[in-house]
C-alpha cells in the first residue's frame, strides 16, 4: 500500500524542518461596500450582457426571443417568460438539456471586483449540466447576493455543494495568449440585475 510509503517519505523529508510560519492575512478581506456599477463594468468587460430591471419574465423574454428554455425545478415561477417553451429539469437527458436554446437560473453569489457569478446548484440554479450545455445562459442576480471581493464570496459559499464560478462567457487564451470568447461553455451570458420595482 503506497499510502504509508508516501507518508513515511514525507515525514523523512520533513525531519530537518524549521518552524512553520504564521499566515499573514493583512490583505483586504472585507466587508467592503458593494459597487453594483463596478460589477456591471467588469461583467461587460468580459463580454457578458447586463440587464437591470424588476420584471424578470419580460427581460428574459426579450433575451430568448423565439427560442426555447430549460429551467431548474426551483426557479421562481414568476420569472418564467410567458409564451416561451420552457422545460423544467426533472432529470432530463444531456441531449434534452443540450437541445434547449437557453437556460434561466438564479445564482448564489456575485463578486463585483472580478465580474464573477457563482452557482451552487440550489433548487433555483439546478444541476451543473443546465448552465453548461445550452448556448445561452440567463442568470438573475439579486442585489443582496453581490459582494465586493473574492474573500467575501468564499466566506458566503458552502463548499459541500458543487460550485461553478462563472466570469463571462466561455473563452480561451490558447491562441497567441489573447482572450477569445466562445468555446465549449455557453457563448452568450446575460446577467439580469434584479432591481426592486
Amino acid at each position: 500500500m503506497s499510502k504509508q510509503l508516501i507518508l513515511d517519505r514525507i515525514r523523512q523529508a520533513l525531519s530537518t524542518s524549521s518552524a512553520e510560519p504564521e499566515i499573514p492575512r493583512d490583505y483586504r478581506r472585507g466587508p467592503a461596500p458593494v459597487d453594483l456599477d463596478r460589477l456591471v463594468d467588469r461583467l461587460v468587460d468580459y463580454k457578458a450582457v447586463v440587464h437591470r430591471g424588476s420584471d424578470i419574465s419580460v427581460i428574459a423574454r426579450q433575451i430568448i426571443g423565439a427560442g426555447s428554455l430549460v429551467v431548474p425545478p426551483g426557479l421562481p415561477p414568476e420569472w418564467l417568460p410567458s409564451g416561451v417553451p420552457a422545460r423544467v429539469d426533472d432529470r432530463l437527458s444531456a441531449a434534452d438539456v443540450a437541445a434547449a436554446d437557453g437556460v434561466l437560473t438564479a445564482a448564489a453569489v456575485a463578486i463585483a471586483e472580478t465580474g464573477t457569478i457563482v452557482l451552487d446548484a440550489s433548487p433555483d440554479q439546478g444541476r451543473r449540466i443546465l448552465s453548461l450545455l445550452p448556448d445561452l445562459h440567463i442568470c438573475v442576480l439579486r442585489p443582496e447576493q453581490v459582494v465586493a471581493s473574492v474573500p467575501e464570496a468564499v466566506a458566503r459559499l458552502d463548499p459541500g455543494r458543487p460550485l461553478t464560478w462563472i466570469s463571462g462567457p466561455s473563452a480561451t487564451s490558447d491562441i497567441e495568449l489573447n482572450r477569445v470568447e466562445g468555446v465549449h461553455g455557453p457563448r452568450n451570458l446575460h446577467v439580469v440585475l434584479w432591481e426592486a420595482a
Partner: protein
C-alpha cells in the same frame, strides 16, 4: 538515488515526460534557429505580460496576497502528512475513493485499471500537468484506451503530433495560421473554408468535441487545489471543456500531486485572486469548478482521487529547493523569462519548462538527469518578481548549480581562479598576464570551448595598460 523504503525518491526513468533527449544548450540552439517560433513566442509573451501587468496593477494588496500565498504554501509543506490524511478522510466521507501513487508507473496503473473497470475505451481529459508528467496518455494508449484532450491548446498539440511547450498554453509555439493548418489536416469533418480567425478556430474545436463530450462516460482531470478541511477539489479553466469533463461523465478520475493540497476552504480566497491575474492576466478566469466527493443526481457518480508523489518527496527533502513545490502552475515565470521567450518550452525537455521547470524538473528526477537545466537562466530575477507565491527561483537555481555535476575542465579552471583570487600577489601577477589577451585580438582567435562561445557574437574587451591596483599604487 536511495531505494530504501520510506526514503524520499526521485521520479523513475523510462516513464513520463520529465527528461529531455539532449542538454539544454543544444536543444536551445535548435529552437533559436526557428525564426517563426521566436516571433510566435515574442508576440504571445509580450501580450500576456501586458494583460497580466494591467490586472495586477488593479489590486492594491497584491504584495500582501503574495505573502499570504507564500506562507500558506510553507505551512502546507510543513503539515503535509496531516493535510493529506485529512483530505483523504473528507473525500472518502463525501463518497469519493482515494488512491495513493508512489510514482508515475503506479499512477498510470491505477488510472488504467479504473478505466478498465468501467469497460470504456475512451476517456475525455482536462489539461493537467500531472497526467502529462506521468505519461498517462501513452499508458492509456498501450491499454487500448483512447485519451481525448479537450483543452484547445492540448487539442492543437495532440492533433499536431506535437509536444506541449508551456504550462498554461501548451501550443504557445503555434500561431493562428499554423493552428488552422493543423485543424485542416487533422480534424475529422472540419470545414475546409475554416479561416485563421481565433474565434473561428475556437468554434471549430467546439463543433469537433461536442459529440465526444456528450457520449464519453469517463473523464480524467488534474486539480488546481484540494482542500484538506472540506475534501473539495477545484479546477480552474477557461473554455468550459473542464466543466464538460467534470459534469457529464459517469466516472471522474482526478490525478493530483501531493503538493496541491490546501489547508482550509478560506485559503482559496488568496489563491483565487493570485492565480488568474498571474496566469492568463484576467481578473477571474471564465470557469472554476469545485466539487466535494459525489453529489447525488448531479455530475459523475463515481469519483476517484489519485494522490501522486513521483519525486515530490525528494524535492521536499531539500530545505532550499522545496519551495519549488509551492508552484501553482500559473506560468507567469515563463512569460517574463528572457530565456524562455527565446528558446520556447521544448528546449527544456520536460513538461515543466521555463524558470520553474529549471528548478522543479532536476529536483523531481535527480540533478544528474537534468544537469543543464539549472544553468538555463541568466539569473536576471524577473521570475522571482512575477511569481504570485514568491518562489525565489534564482536562489534555487544557484543552489542546484552547486549540486550539479561539473565538466572537468571547468572544475579545474574554477579551482585555479579561486586559488589565485585568494592570494593577492598571485592575483596581481595574473592581472598583468591579462594583458596577454591582446594577443588573441578582439575576436579571440584560438580560444578553446566554451570560451569561444563568447567571441562568436561579442568582441573581447581591450585589456588596459595597467590594472586599477597598479594605478592606485603609483598614485
Amino acid at each position: 538515488m536511495s531505494t530504501f523504503l520510506g526514503m524520499p525518491a526521485h521520479a523513475p526513468r523510462g516513464v513520463g515526460h520529465l527528461r529531455g533527449d539532449e542538454p539544454f544548450p543544444a536543444a536551445a540552439r535548435t529552437a533559436l534557429a526557428n525564426p517563426q517560433l521566436r516571433r510566435n513566442l515574442e508576440h504571445a509573451t509580450t501580450t500576456i505580460r501586458g494583460k497580466s501587468g494591467r490586472v495586477i496593477a488593479e489590486v492594491p494588496d497584491w504584495q500582501e496576497l503574495r505573502s499570504a500565498g507564500s506562507a500558506l504554501k510553507t505551512y502546507t509543506m510543513a503539515n503535509l502528512p496531516r493535510l493529506l490524511e485529512q483530505l483523504e478522510e473528507k473525500v472518502t466521507a463525501a463518497g469519493g475513493v482515494v488512491h495513493w501513487a508512489a510514482d508515475a508507473e503506479e499512477a498510470n496503473r491505477i488510472v488504467t485499471g479504473l478505466v478498465r473497470q468501467t469497460g470504456e475505451q475512451r476517456v475525455i481529459k482536462i489539461k493537467s500537468m500531472a497526467t502529462q508528467e506521468i505519461g498517462l496518455n501513452e499508458a492509456l494508449g498501450e491499454a487500448g484506451i483512447d485519451p481525448v484532450e479537450t483543452d484547445l491548446a492540448e487539442l492543437i498539440v495532440q492533433l499536431g503530433h506535437d509536444k506541449p511547450s508551456h504550462i498554461l498554453v501548451p501550443a504557445i509555439h503555434r500561431n493562428r495560421s499554423e493552428i488552422r493548418e493543423i485543424f485542416l489536416r487533422e480534424m475529422p469533418g472540419v470545414d475546409p473554408a475554416l479561416t485563421d480567425n481565433p474565434a473561428d478556430l475556437a468554434a471549430a474545436a467546439r463543433r469537433y468535441l461536442r459529440e465526444t463530450f456528450l457520449s464519453t462516460k469517463v473523464a480524467v482531470s488534474g486539480a488546481n487545489f484540494g482542500i484538506a478541511e472540506t475534501g473539495t477539489l477545484a479546477v480552474v479553466e477557461s473554455e468550459g471543456n473542464g466543466r464538460m469533463c467534470l459534469t457529464l461523465p459517469e466516472t471522474l478520475i482526478t490525478v493530483m500531486g501531493i503538493e496541491k493540497v490546501v489547508p482550509a476552504w478560506q485559503d482559496l480566497e488568496v489563491f483565487l485572486q493570485l492565480l488568474p491575474r498571474a496566469s492568463t492576466g484576467e481578473r477571474m478566469n471564465p470557469y472554476t469548478s469545485m466539487w466535494t466527493g459525489v453529489t447525488p443526481g448531479d455530475g459523475p457518480q463515481n469519483f476517484h482521487l489519485v494522490l501522486l508523489d513521483n519525486g515530490r518527496t525528494a524535492v521536499l527533502a531539500d530545505e532550499v529547493g522545496r519551495s519549488a513545490l509551492h508552484c501553482i502552475r500559473c506560468s507567469a515565470c515563463l512569460n517574463v523569462c528572457p530565456v524562455y521567450e527565446r528558446t520556447g518550452g521544448h528546449a527544456y525537455g520536460s513538461v515543466y519548462p521555463g524558470p520553474i521547470g529549471a528548478v522543479l524538473s532536476p529536483q523531481l528526477t535527480g540533478i544528474e538527469d537534468n544537469a543543464t537545466l539549472p544553468y538555463a537562466s541568466s539569473l536576471c530575477g524577473a521570475c522571482f518578481d512575477a511569481c504570485p507565491v514568491k518562489i525565489d527561483i534564482p536562489s534555487i537555481l544557484v543552489h542546484l548549480r552547486n549540486q550539479a555535476p561539473h565538466p572537468r575542465a571547468e572544475k579545474a579552471a574554477m579551482a585555479a581562479a579561486a586559488y589565485t583570487m585568494d592570494r593577492p600577489r598571485l592575483y596581481r601577477r595574473a592581472q598583468r598576464a591579462a594583458k596577454l589577451t591582446k594577443l588573441l585580438g578582439r575576436r579571440g582567435r584560438g580560444l578553446p570551448p566554451p570560451l569561444n562561445g563568447w567571441v562568436a557574437s561579442r568582441d573581447l574587451p581591450s585589456p588596459p595598460d595597467e590594472s586599477f591596483r597598479d594605478w592606485w599604487r603609483g598614485r
